[in-house]
């Protein structure tokens, strides 16, 4: 059954541990989540809010390596039908070697790449090579992105544009109002791409608000907080509720 809006869920790899990540993936699969964003942790996650900053740090402290993350992603892709995206900061890819990283990601079946600190002008190579390795580079737009820049984003990105509807970092509440809907429509019209909306989606009402406008709703730190506060099992209840 086609859903009114697709879901993209997020996990910081190695936080609280890979076993929990694996359980989370089973729950995502069970709830027919379409896209999964797996974050390879970075010590300087400056685009993230407190929940993910802590998750990144604790994961690294627990000894999570880039290699372990890539191994985990490979296993996950082999076992699950969802489309998998790698989210990480530029330095992780840069140190691995741009080509080495993208080749490896492509070989293990990664569908897309999101790098929040690689704006299109600085990350030209990253975006272009991503395409030549048959993966989808995901570009990010905000309400402050100019029309002209939106065109540049559309040229560099593939499949969908990730729209961040407000200022600030991941994790806090977004005020979903009519201007968000307007902007989504505008982005889709200008770029002829699908639109994913992230940052601050926390409840069913947020999803309902986006239905018919956005194509994908991204649920990130909300899931991490449920795991922290109520346990991994409750993620299932949460997804069931919002998917009803």
């Amino acid at each position: 059954m086609a859903h009114k809006i697709n879901l993209m869920t997020h996990q910081v790899l190695g936080y609280p541990d890979f076993e929990t990540n694996e359980k989370a993936l089973e729950i995502f699969k069970k709830n027919n989540v379409e896209y999964v964003e797996l974050q390879i942790p970075f010590s300087e996650s400056s685009a993230d809010g407190p929940t993910f900053v802590k998750a990144n740090q604790l994961s690294i402290q627990n000894g999570t390596t880039v290699e372990a993350c890539l191994e985990f992603i490979k296993k996950s892709i082999d076992k699950n039908p969802m489309k998998f995206l790698i989210m990480t900061y530029f330095n992780i890819i840069y140190q691995y070697g741009l080509d080495n990283f993208l080749r490896r990601a492509s070989e293990i079946g990664v569908w897309g790449i999101i790098v929040p600190d690689a704006p299109v002008d600085e990350g030209v190579q990253l975006y272009d090579k991503c395409v030549s390795y048959q993966m989808n580079p995901i570009v990010i737009a905000t309400p402050y992105t100019s029309e002209k820049r939106l065109q540049v984003l559309a040229e560099k990105g593939r499949e969908f544009i990730y729209f961040v509807p407000r200022k600030g970092v991941t994790g806090s509440k977004t005020d979903f109002n009519d201007s968000v809907r307007e902007k989504i429509l505008q982005i889709k019209q200008r770029t002829l791409m699908e639109c994913a909306v992230g940052f601050g989606i926390q409840e069913k009402a947020d999803l309902e608000f986006l239905e018919g406008y956005a194509d994908i709703a991204v649920i990130g730190s909300k899931i991490t907080r449920i795991i922290e506060e109520e346990g991994i099992e409750k993620v299932d209840d949460f997804l069931k509720e919002i998917r009803e």
């Binding site: 996650s45 900053v53 390596t65 992780i92 704006p119 200022k167």
Partner: protein, 415 residues
């Protein structure tokens, strides 16, 4: 900008620099770049800036002939550029006053800043008080412990100080947190970055404001010696005081420019903050720019160590990374014990108390002094004064009488 830095794509110095920030911050960086771009070619802007430095901060700062040190070594002639005599006691105020004027042009009313040693935080708090802005200063929890007196002053100047507990709870984490604040509040907020790091246009802009130091050095040395100096020494954390002193001489091939990094407990110990001199920094991308970072093979940033909080940083100005790569700027590291010795020598010989940061520049100069002759003219940029560091210096010198005093005062508050 110096000719040697020209010819690269905008915001780049060789392969270093750029602006690696979330898309959200691109418009505000564009806005800042345009505003600074107009200001830097406007003579009246520079005049307003320099007048403010003159009337409010006490510029120009003297170039003091260090007669006793010169006699003591019997080698090159040593001059000290007295940035310690700036209002607030360090060079940091130069940049902050300039960015305050930029803020006025931008019509922004709230200023945020990161601070390591606290000097930039104090300078920002001073600027905000003077210009009528609200100031919020991000400072690592670890640094707050090391530098509480500066926190005390920031708060008394009316600034809000926010303790950053993430990561290593030091300067880099304060920068991340300031970037997050900026991403949430850029419409009414300016991020007053304190050093020549971060995304374009910050490295260029901070260097521009700090370059008054070198401009004055040139004029003063010409007056006193009728020629340019042979060597200029400065300590190198992020790069603001070294580039401030060096920029004027970048195109003068005969002036040697030597940057002193924090050698901490030595290269082998791993407890240091030397990215260039020890050649341990690897090219990477973090905190909005590309430069040499102290990081592991995965790209995770390492813990750094320095006796001086102001040099305790994982990255370095992209401009310094480039100048070092092409050999225009030389680098050396001073270890903690050498720094303490230099601190004592300068204090006793000259009656001038250097900050621990600046003592690194003296330490490297002292190590090099044998290679100079009586004809050589040496300038050491003394970025700040040391009396503000009394708690750290008291500890570094293991001064028992001082410790006793602190303990007594502490006990006095106990009951």
């Amino acid at each position: 900008m110096a000719k040697i830095l020209e010819g690269f794509p905008e915001g780049y110095y060789g392969e270093y620099g750029g602006r690696f920030v979330p898309e959200l911050l691109i418009p505000v960086l564009d806005e800042l770049k345009d505003c600074f771009g107009k200001a830097k070619i406007d003579d009246s802007f520079f005049e307003e800036y320099y007048n403010l430095l003159k009337d409010y901060c006490g510029r120009e700062t003297p170039l003091t002939y260090a007669e006793n040190l010169t006699e003591y070594f019997g080698k090159g002639k040593i001059y000290i550029k007295r940035e310690d005599l700036n209002h607030s006691g360090a060079h940091k105020i130069n940049n902050v006053i300039g960015q305050g004027l930029i803020m006025k042009k931008l019509g922004k009313k709230r200023v945020i800043a990161e601070t390591g040693a606290g000097q930039h935080g104090v300078a920002t708090a001073i600027m905000a008080a003077k210009m009528g802005f609200k100031a919020v200063i991000y400072m690592g929890a670890e640094d707050i412990e090391r530098q509480y007196p500066n926190v005390f002053w920031m708060r008394n100047l009316g600034a809000e100080v926010i303790s950053v507990k993430d990561g290593t709870a030091t300067l880099k984490d304060a920068i991340n947190e300031a970037m997050r604040d900026w991403a949430a509040n850029f419409e009414d907020t300016h991020y007053c970055l304190g050093t020549t790091c971060g995304p374009h246009p910050f490295p260029e802009m901070v260097m521009y404001f700090q370059s008054v130091i070198g401009k004055e050095i040139r004029k003063q040395v010409m007056q006193k010696e009728n020629r340019l100096p042979d060597r200029v020494y400065a300590c190198l954390g992020g790069g603001s005081n070294s580039l401030g002193a060096f920029h004027e001489f970048l195109d003068e091939k005969d002036v040697r420019l030597i940057a002193a990094e924090a050698g901490g407990k030595g290269k082998e110990s791993g407890q240091h903050a030397s990215r260039l001199a020890y050649q341990t920094g690897k090219t990477g991308i973090a905190q909005g720019y590309k430069t040499k970072f102290l990081q592991n093979s995965d790209g995770q940033m390492l813990d750094t160590w320095s006796i001086s909080a102001g040099l305790d940083y994982i990255g370095v100005s992209p401009i310094c990374a480039y100048l070092s790569e092409i050999g225009r700027m030389e680098t050396a590291a001073a270890e903690d014990n050498e720094v303490i010795n230099a601190f004592s020598l300068v204090s006793r010989k000259e009656g001038i108390i250097p900050a621990l940061e600046s003592s690194h520049a003296f330490a490297v100069m002292i190590k090099d002094i044998e290679t100079t002759t009586k004809e050589d003219i040496i300038v050491v940029n003394m970025s700040g004064r040391g009396d503000k560091d009394i708690f750290n210096i008291g500890e570094a010198l293991s001064d028992e009488k001082w410790k006793e005093f602190v303990k007594q005062r502490g006990d006095g508050y106990g009951s």
